[in-house]
Amino acid sequence: MGNTAQIQEQFTLLDAFLNNKEAPIREFYVAEYPKTKHYVLTHGGTIDNANDVFQEAFFSCWKRLSTGKFSPNTKSEIEAYLFTTAKNKWIDHTRMVAKKKTISMEGKTNYITADDTEEINYHTEKEQQLTITLAAFENLGEACKELLTQFYFYKMSLRDIAEKLTIEEASAKNKKYRCIQKLKELAFHKINT
């Protein structure tokens, strides 16, 4: 592949992550998954473990790229970041399992330093919160999911959304607000049950 083609490919991918363009991101996901799968399977994990760490790493990579916290110069840097994140997540997971076993055998927590505990608590809290929001989102009706995705993910204007739904722009605005209220209720209900 020539240099121009490489730059074009890299630009397309970065642009996709910054603007939530689904097809290139999905292609990248499918292309990068086997490497993590191979790593996890050859380091004592299962397919389900591989799926979990890869999806978490992919989410983290996507978020850092889209918020500008990670500004790679090449596509290889994104690939390396993704794989390293997945690998570290798997190493963390195996360490945590080993620590739990050590704790239950020895009845004390000597192996966890204060910093580790803080970090684990932070991640657990953060991930729990995300899971709850995702669960709430998944429980929204299709119409609300579609509308919120178009507005917050594809960044479509309310005018375009209204046109697509053949309703007035003001109705689309009301509908969006009601969907957010519904989502908040679902999230609140989930977190308190």
Binding site: I25, Y29, Y33, L41, Q55, W62, Y152, F153, I180, K184
Partner: protein, 246 residues
């Protein structure tokens, strides 16, 4: 989202307009002033930002789950799960597995090779540029928007309707074939990509044999794929041909 704050629709819309406003002029100042006049404005702005961020995060996670459905079966096989043997019976189990594997090896060798080659070479066609604002071929470009967003089912539905009116159209046949292949349905894909003669004089005369060959590879019909690629030499087709086993 632990302690929901009550924000009216007007307040929500105002805060979102303020957050999304890119300018710096009078309008921005007015917005800032209006938002600052809200009760607990700082708290409300922070809350709206948080809800928006979490919504976008959950949509991303939802999309990631969808992406995973596109992993070729061979890459996500549940049969690859790590096996845990109990000490007793481990040797019997290993012997049984070896016998089984030996038998299966020859049967699956071809399929695995095909799937790997397919996965290594298949990338959906980038599609055609969108001509916004033209009324001609509106349905086709609407399908192309879906295709580019990866909404393959919607694209297929729209293009299929058009194809019913014009069954010989090479563009529709080509993109329907590629879209079905992107969905993993090689059998259906071949219904549109074959016979290849329908693309001979069009703009897809190089690409159509490439995707047809990939569909055949996915089907395990390696010899047919080789023949087709050899008959239609191009840089991509030759590279794919060279990747096929002797």
């Amino acid at each position: 989202m632990n302690s929901p704050i009550q924000i009216t629709q007007e307040e929500w819309d105002l805060i979102e307009t303020y957050l999304d406003h890119k300018g710096t002029g009078n309008e921005a100042q007015e917005l800032k002033q209006k938002v600052s006049e809200l009760t607990d404005s700082a708290k409300k702005i922070k809350y709206v930002q948080k809800v928006r961020e979490e919504m976008e995060d959950s949509i991303r996670q939802s999309k990631i789950k969808e992406f995973h459905k596109h992993i070729p079966m061979a890459d996500d096989s549940k049969t690859a799960r790590r096996m845990r043997f109990k000490p007793h019976g481990m040797w019997y189990a290993m012997a049984a597995v070896l016998v089984l594997l030996f038998g299966l090896f020859w049967m699956l060798k071809e399929d695995n090779t095909s799937e790997k080659i397919f996965a290594a070479h298949f990338k959906p066609d980038i599609g055609l540029p969108l001509k916004m604002g033209t009324n001609n071929d509106y349905g086709f470009y609407e399908g192309m928007v879906d295709y580019k967003q990866g909404n393959y089912k919607e694209a297929i539905a729209k293009w299929q309707l058009l194809l019913n009116e014009n069954p010989e159209n090479d563009t529709l046949n080509y993109f329907l074939g590629v879209t079905y292949l992107a969905e993993g349905n090689s059998e259906k894909s071949l219904e549109y990509l074959e016979p290849n003669q329908k693309f001979t004089n069009g703009i897809f005369n190089e690409e159509a044999p490439y995707y047809t060959a990939l569909a055949k590879i996915k089907e395990g019909k390696l010899e047919e794929a080789k023949k087709l690629l050899a008959e239609n030499p191009s840089e991509k087709n030759t590279t794919l041909l060279e990747s096929l086993p002797e």
